[in-house]
Symmetry: C2
Subunit: 193 residues, 2 copies
């Protein structure tokens, strides 16, 4: 009953997400978005109300995509310690270009602080779901005796997830991947039984 959309909204969203990821929310202008998507401002507005909504949608896309990759990687590993290693390896990007952008969630968390409720909710969800995966693997390791039981699974999970956050920071500041992975391997080594 109306004129059909000429552009692929999912594709455009993904492209916008990439731009936000590279430049951050505030540093991204509408011109950046229209240039890379080849979609005019008003058309983007038609689908996503404004820059903030577009950003929120980008966050969700990023989160769901990353969590699903993480889940698949974990599923491929049998031993809990290998699962933890896989989580760490997946958290760090292999590609040099991607690495310098760091992690969109971490970047956003620092760009917005705790000011924006909606954005904070998305970030927390990413954190918590990652933590849950880590804790699950740790419990498995504790059950089979490869991971220490001197401390509770939740404490150990928080330790590792905190280390990963730190690693993602190092990643953005340009440290070489092997160096960062080394730190994470230490973090894992420290919790093995």
């Amino acid at each position: 009953m109306s004129r059909p959309r000429e552009f692929d909204a999912d594709l455009a969203l993904r492209q916008c997400m990439e731009v936000f990821w590279t430049k951050g929310f505030h540093a991204t202008s509408y011109e950046d978005l229209t240039r890379t998507t080849q979609v005019k401002k008003q058309s983007l507005y038609g689908v996503f109300k404004n820059k903030r909504e577009l950003f929120l949608k980008s966050l969700v896309l990023y989160r769901e995509e990353n969590l699903s990759i993480l889940e698949k990687r974990i599923a491929n590993e049998t031993s809990p310690v290998r699962q933890l290693e896989a989580i760490c390896e997946t958290a760090l990007y292999a590609d040099d270009e991607a690495r310098i952008r760091g992690c969109l969630i971490i970047n956003t968390s620092l760009e917005f602080g705790s000011a924006d409720e909606d954005i904070n909710r998305e970030i927390m969800q990413m954190m918590q779901r990652t933590e849950a995966m880590i804790e699950h693997a740790i419990r498995g390791g504790q059950a089979e005796g490869t991971i220490t039981s001197r401390l509770g699974s939740r404490e150990l999970a928080l330790h590792l997830s905190n280390a990963i956050n730190g690693a993602k920071m190092m990643e953005k500041s340009g440290a070489p991947r092997e160096e960062i992975l080394g730190v994470l391997r230490t973090s894992i080594a420290l919790i093995q039984a």
Copy 2:
């Protein structure tokens, strides 16, 4: 031989640093700076060439001040493990208002990425000097047997410094101080012999 400056440049720099710390570099406008310092734009320019130079000076001030506080706190502690605890406690701000701002160095590191050389140099210097203090304490602990020797002092220091960076991130995203300290205490507990 010329008209004397009417404002205190050191005070103005400190005030600017506070603004940058709260809002970040890009989000801080000259209006913010002139409002809080009560110094007109052109006068600030006379002392600090432009916004970026002013920011660089702010970074250095922040760094030196924080490192000197850290050094004093360490000097008060005798046992290496207590020294590490002191470093962690000092890294996190006690005051609620300060806590939500996070750490200027970490914020800057994520705001600029690795793009700006000069800024990166200041950041790296802060990191390295903190790491050195941590490693020194760890070596002391290893010598007296309170800290594990399963891993080298440098690896352990990187582990702890990475954990502190993660903690500073959590700090900015609004997590309660006790929760963050808990994570850091775990990080210390894991390296004790």
